[in-house]
Amino acid sequence: MKPPASRSSPAAAFREWRLYLFVLPSLFLVALFAYFPAASAIYHSLFDWQGGEAKQYVAWANFNRAWSDRVLWDSFVTVAFLVGFNLVKMLPSIALAVVIHRLRSERWQYLYRVLLVVPMLVPGLVTLFIWKFYLDPNLGLLNRLLDATGLKAALVGLDRLAGWGVFAEGVPIGWLSQPQLVLPSLFLWGFPWIGAVGVLIYLAGLQAIGTEVYEAAELDGIGPVGKFFYIELPLILTQVRLNLTLLIISTLQGYGLQLLLLGDTGGPGGRGMTPGLWMYNRAFIAGEFGYACAIGLILFGFILALSLVNNRYVRTRR
């Protein structure tokens, strides 16, 4: 008598072939909308292609050109600044998660979680437009605040001492129209930098910490700050690492923020030019779709490398 086939054997799988039909539609959609565009980008990066039907195979010419493209490499410098900014911007979310976690009342914890989630209903694009308005030199909230609090005068004074040539008496501050202020504006954007998703992810991690750990820490005389560094932070490092990876990827790839705030040239002096925005510029402004695909692949290479570094060196210990 033949022994029954194991549940995971190929024979068993073949017998249950009907089940795979349920997976096929999703697989097909993922292949069509996620993998096919990526494969197409790889393919077209080897061509001189203007987006129509006509294209000519040029092998590595696009990549050779990217190697000496100063704008592209300068944009990586810009994005390095943006990654640094975003690392700093992670801290308020972690701090808020810890604060909410330490609230004794569960009702208040719930209320704060709801308050965090409600703004998520506002589409991201609307938030960007609101920030663009805040940064408006004539009507924006930021300039009005600086004027009302006297900080503008302080900045003007500081400018005179330091010789920046950015802040002047009676001249509205052009946050996005002066090259020196482009990066600071991109840093300021999103203040107070509390991302609901990040806070909720950290909170979930914190809530997995057992109360006995805290009791043991109190017995050892560890104060609130110590609890954060010795208990909470190490135990949410998995979530931090996940967020860091996602943050790096989105910052490297992202260009929507810069496109909306600064236009397709990256703003005055091209200071806001990121690799993603340069890719957009090459494709849709210059019509160099093949070259844009090559830039996309270079960007992919960077993201992959950074993700590997992140996974290797941002260790989690339990």
Binding site: E53, Q56, D136, P137, N138, S177
Partner: protein, 543 residues
Amino acid sequence: MKRRPLVWAGLAAFALIYAVATVRVLILSATASPVANAKVTVRFAHFYLEPGLREAYAQIAADYMHLHPGVRVEQIAVPQRIFNAWAKTQLIGGTAPDLVLVDGGQFTLEDLARHFTPLHEWVEAPNPYNSGTDVADLPWRETFIDGLTGSYDSRLLSYYSIPTSLFTNRVFFNRALWREIFGTETPPSDYEDFLAACERIEAWGAARGRPLVPLAGSVYNAPFLIDFLFGTQTQRRQFEVAWSAHLRADLSPSVALLQGRWDFSDPALQAAFRIVRDVGRHIQPGFLQLQRDDANFAFLQGRAVMLASGAHEAASLRAQAEFPLGVFALPVPGTDHPRYGAQIFGPVTEANIRPAGAFGLTRTSREPVQAVDFLRYLTSQATAARFAALSGWLTAVADAQIPAALDPFRPVTAGYANGFDLSIRRRHPDAKRVADTNLHLLIAAGSDDAAVAAYTAALARDYPPALRLDLENRVANTRRNVMRQDGNLAAYRWMSQAAPDDTVLKRRFNEVAEQIDGNEAENYFIMHELARTAAATQPPARP
């Protein structure tokens, strides 16, 4: 199995909704058109959703249907944002309307060749709807303001669209505020008056503690002023460096820069920088980060007295403004201006403005003859006048009567082509990017000399490499077109030999040969100069 009542209720609701929808569709399709049993349907699609335009097209379509019983004309208005994707899907699927707007630069060469019908035979015949007028015997193309040159595709050697409108640029102003400041509603008559007016507005606002700027500005609006004035200073230089004596503004300045025949220390360019700074100082601060709506907002809210924009904005500004709106053409310095006159040839012509609202005839049209007939009707003298009156937009038809409200927007044809700006007629995107990203240096606070010097230095460093890249791209594009035309040469050669009596084929063959030779020669000249100037060799002085 006993079904639950809820299931029956759901089915009943579904059936009811389906029945209502079906009946509604039947009623609508029966009553929508005065010609319910039309034998012929012509559909036209566009993305102009501005107030007045759809209504104008609808009225003209209705007039045409009354003239032609049995013909139905259907308008399809699609938002511009999705028009490109929508149109391409329709074209590829073979379900495109008979007439599709080709204005937005959304169609590539292959799209035009594959999906649109050349119109050269139609445009050479007179427009029958012009009979009884002065232009009754003129070829249809001659009845357009530009002679239809803007619709001619030099790569495909034919006309591929028929325009219906035209956009000129003007300065809108708040007449009420103007009267309050100046005591009169008369706009400035010359350039110095214009600058003086800007300064007066700023002083008036400062004296009353009211934040008021002379010119609303944005990355969309500022070029109407800046590029235009810049061009007045390169007007003479443009023709001095032209590689051909054809007297037309072309791309010669870009090669001339490589050849060293002008640079940024050139008096014309220095004057251009100064004139931009003159006016740029009076545009609302931070305009480099603002969009079109921001500028419109500032103007409509009374925070800016003037707004430079296109004629197509007039109707929507009139609808939204709570003050009386005035319009004037931006005055330019005369040839006797002490500072800027030396570089100017004379008044600037608007005869070279490319008309818009251009419809192409799709190859899948089932009624091409009727569709073209509708276009003829739409662009006849009488209908064009009606279109202008209904829509509030200028018409692309020459000499058509326009309402008095549009008179200020009528193109001024008496003049010379304006000079080049740093985008070199918007054909050099990388050069334009460099010019735009350094513009903040030119309008920075501080001394005029320092600002001009800073801008000059930045352009001298960054502009030539960007221009070279643009020219190299242009050369590559022309080379691609010529490669494709090689196929045409063989095809028309074969076909004209197979049908030796067919004069149309013979003519197409000659046109293709002429075009290839001409394009190649010009391309090789540009390549020659690119290669030669890479080695920094200077040309000998001209005879």
